[in-house]
């Protein structure tokens, strides 16, 4: 049976992945795949780090309300990807992270990528998207206090994360196409992606501006009314 039944086995796996498997993959990739190693290594690292974060989630106790909010926000982000032009994914991830912590933010970002790609096309880019959106959430969680206090900072974070997301995905495009990392190709990819980057940045700013007050209000309300 491949299913990891025992808790210990899962715990072992959690230690093995960061300390042994990721370095091993990097070294092995470098040795085996010579010039093609960038694509392989980056994909493997992306995949493994996502797995790492997600198994970390299993370990802790999560209340039912938090779990519901995480799934509601993920589903909203997935459904929001159907809005023309403006995509709320990063904004939803950031807001969740600010109010529920970085781990929930990571989860919302990563799961949105995974699930929405069943509608928008699954591919080797999925782990990258999961990692990129997940990290946007994770860092928003770390910066929760200042982001909650200052609206300007929040919008700046939205702009930065839009650019970050676009450039991360460009790295992947380049590596996938050429097998290795070609700065020349990367430059043209970034230029070609400017319309997309703009759309991400604008979406983030618009949705963050739109959601910041009502979302906080709503969660505070739930906290008072039901003691979440």
């Amino acid at each position: 049976m491949i299913v990891i039944r025992s808790k210990t086995a899962r715990d072992v796996l959690r230690c093995v992945i960061p300390f042994l498997l990721i370095p091993a993959v990097v070294l092995l990739g470098a040795a085996v795949f010579s010039e093609k190693r960038h694509a392989f290594v980056s994909l493997a690292v992306a995949g493994l780090s996502v797995v790492l974060f997600l198994t970390g989630f299993e370990r802790q106790k999560t209340g039912s309300r938090r779990l519901v909010i995480v799934s509601v926000m993920t589903a909203l982000a997935v459904v929001g990807r159907f809005i023309p032009v403006l995509k709320p994914v990063a904004a939803v991830t950031i807001m969740t992270a600010i109010y529920l912590g970085g781990e929930s933010g990571f989860l919302v970002g990563a799961m949105t990528a995974l699930i929405s790609n069943f509608y928008f096309g699954q591919g080797p880019w999925t782990p990258f998207q999961m990692l990129a959106w997940g990290l946007i959430g994770l860092f928003a969680g770390l910066l929760a206090d200042p982001l909650r206090r200052s609206r300007v900072l929040l919008l700046v974070y939205g702009v930065v994360s839009g650019i970050f997301y676009s450039m991360t995905m460009d790295i992947w495009t380049v590596m996938w196409y050429g097998g290795g990392f070609d700065p020349q190709l990367y430059k043209s990819a970034i230029i070609a992606a400017i319309p997309h980057t703009t759309a991400y940045v604008v979406s983030n700013v618009v949705f963050l501006a739109l959601m910041a007050d009502p979302f906080g209000e709503k969660l505070d309300r739930l906290r008072v009314k039901y003691g979440v």
Partner: protein, 546 residues
């Protein structure tokens, strides 16, 4: 054997003075089916939630609760979760997972039962409740009634000793509600499951109940065998209006005693035994001269996709100015689709729709929605955006004095803190702000208790008397019988019969009110209990009666 004992239970919510439940004592024996009733806000829900530890609200609580002899707080988490089952009102929101099989397994997964046990219990429950055909389906594909049966099944898979249900049929149409009650009856009689159920639609429930408890302002005012409780309720019209039609007839004709009829069959026997049959029907009301049409549909066809079947198949219908027109029909008969077509949300591929004589497409630039037509959606929550009712109203320019009912005490509340009936009123106020002459409503009484329904009916009459034309799509035959000027029955995308409530409900055999069914073949054209009682009085009692 006593399964539940409640002694001197009181409960007060934080930041309120009046207790929500005060000094309630009762006990329930194994295998009993206990119905709890009372108006919205009488403390039913709070009482039931106090019986289920995981759902107990925060607040000040006193008194004792014994479950099978153990104090409720002393139960282990596992026992508390599995031995007391709880089904809530909203069929949609209680579902947790995306597949029927997963939902059935959810509780068992939480208890970390072995794979074999989960497989057996889900299979057993699904087979017994007759839902094994759905086992692999997405929950999104199920109808509201099916969802509620699934909620019942997934609680039953945990094999509870006590099942608590909080208004489980309030959101269902009458047919689905009857099915749900039947499933409950089967569980109660064949598994001798103990059931405590709060409900405000009592027609089908009272005949199968062993006990009826009535709550008022947090106090248990009546507790006993249904017939004796009902005989004590006769001076309380606001509670009586929720009782079965036969019982309402019995008390409104001045009868008292222990032989109160509860079902349609008993009601019919009661009429035949006690009343003569000289006059068969009430004199017809004069039909007013036909007013000009407010809404005309002519051969309207609609389908969602090129390859999907027609939803509206040559629908032809005329609604006259200043009438309340009710559209009845089962699920999928095209009722709601017809409203969407009339309000211009969807566009039929053939046929014409005229509103006040003008074709729908001649209303340019949103002029349709200004002082002409308004649509009250089935779910008013699709309208609420703001944190207070006041802001909700001002967004549409609704002024308090213009609203034909009083919602001033709700203004500073959050729309989601209101009861279903109050939400309905706020939604209506928003819709009326556009000063429509034609008001379309989709299932306006869904989830309202009987008393709120009566108030809503008088509000509809008031609106009509001020000149508004109202078209309501509804499953609720009692609503149509009491307030409609004319009714239509939809079937498979067309209107199969149109008439005044007397003709309509007197003529229908199955799709009619309880009063219509009780009197059918004995008297004619009886739409509701009030007319039946009047007819009985006119005929007078038989000499050989009693």
């Amino acid at each position: 054997m006593e399964i539940l004992a409640v002694k001197e239970l009181s409960f007060t919510y934080p930041q309120t003075n009046a207790p929500a439940v005060s000094d309630v004592s009762f006990s329930v024996r194994r295998g009993e089916l206990v119905t709890v009733c009372g108006a919205t806000g009488s403390g039913k829900s709070t009482l039931l939630r106090l019986l289920k530890r995981e759902l107990s609200p925060l607040g000040e609580q006193s008194g004792t609760l014994l479950f099978s002899g153990t104090p409720l707080p002393g139960l282990s988490d596992r026992d508390s979760a599995s031995r007391i089952g709880f089904v809530m009102q909203d069929p949609e929101q209680q579902i947790v997972t995306d597949k029927v099989w997963h939902e059935l397994a959810f509780g068992l997964e939480n208890l970390a039962l072995p794979q074999q046990t989960i497989a057996l219990r889900t299979a057993e429950t699904a087979s017994w409740l007759g839902i094994s055909d759905w086992y692999d389906r997405d929950v999104a594909e199920l109808s509201g009634g099916q969802k509620q049966i699934l909620n019942l099944a997934s609680v039953m898979a945990m094999q509870p000793d006590l099942l608590i249900l909080d208004e489980p049929t309030a959101q269902l149409d009458p047919i689905a509600a009857a099915e749900f009650i039947n499933a409950l009856k089967k569980l109660n009689t064949e598994l001798s499951l103990t059931v405590i159920i709060a409900e405000h639609r009592l027609g089908e429930l009272i005949p199968i109940s062993d006990r009826l408890m009535v709550l008022e302002e947090g106090r248990l005012i009546f507790d006993g065998e249904p017939r004796s409780v009902i005989s004590q309720l006769r001076s309380r019209p606001e509670l009586m209006c929720a009782m079965p039609a036969a019982a309402q007839l019995y008390t409104s004709l001045g009868f008292t005693g222990e032989d109160c009829p509860l079902t349609v069959r008993e009601g019919r026997n009661f009429i035949e035994q006690h009343f003569r049959r000289k006059i068969k029907s009430l004199p017809r009301k004069e039909t007013p001269a036909p007013a000009p049409p407010a809404l005309e549909l002519e051969d309207v066809f609609f389908r969602y996709d090129k390859h999907s079947p027609d939803i509206l198949r040559g629908l032809t219908l005329t609604v006259r100015t200043g009438e309340i027109f009710c559209i009845l029909g089962g699920n999928g008969s095209g009722k709601t689709t017809a409203l969407s077509a009339v309000s211009g949300i969807i566009r039929p591929y053939s046929g014409t729709i005229r509103i006040f004589g003008r074709r729908l497409r001649e209303y340019k630039n949103q002029s349709l929605y200004r002082e002409c037509l308004a649509l009250m959606p089935q779910d008013v929550r699709t309208m609420f955006l703001r944190p207070t009712v006041r802001e909700e109203l001002s967004e549409h320019g609704a002024e308090l004095p213009d609203i034909p009912f009083d919602i001033s005490q709700l203004l500073d509340k959050h729309p989601y803190d209101l009861s279903g009936g109050e939400q309905q009123l706020v939604g209506l106020a928003k819709v009326l702000a556009a000063k429509p002459k034609l008001l379309l409503m989709d299932e306006p009484t869904k989830g309202l208790d009987s008393h709120a329904k009566l108030r809503f009916i008088s509000l509809l009459r008031k609106l009509r008397n001020s000149g508004m034309t109202i078209v309501a799509v509804t499953h609720d035959v009692e609503l149509a019988a009491q307030c409609a000027d004319r009714c239509a029955m939809f079937f498979l995308g067309t209107s199969v019969s149109v008439g005044t409530p007397d003709e309509f409900f007197g003529g229908n055999n199955f799709y009619t009110t309880a009063a219509g069914r009780m009197s059918r073949g004995y008297y004619e054209n009886v739409p509701d209990v009030a007319s039946l009682a009047e007819l009985c009085r006119l005929n007078g009692e038989r000499e050989d009666a009693r």
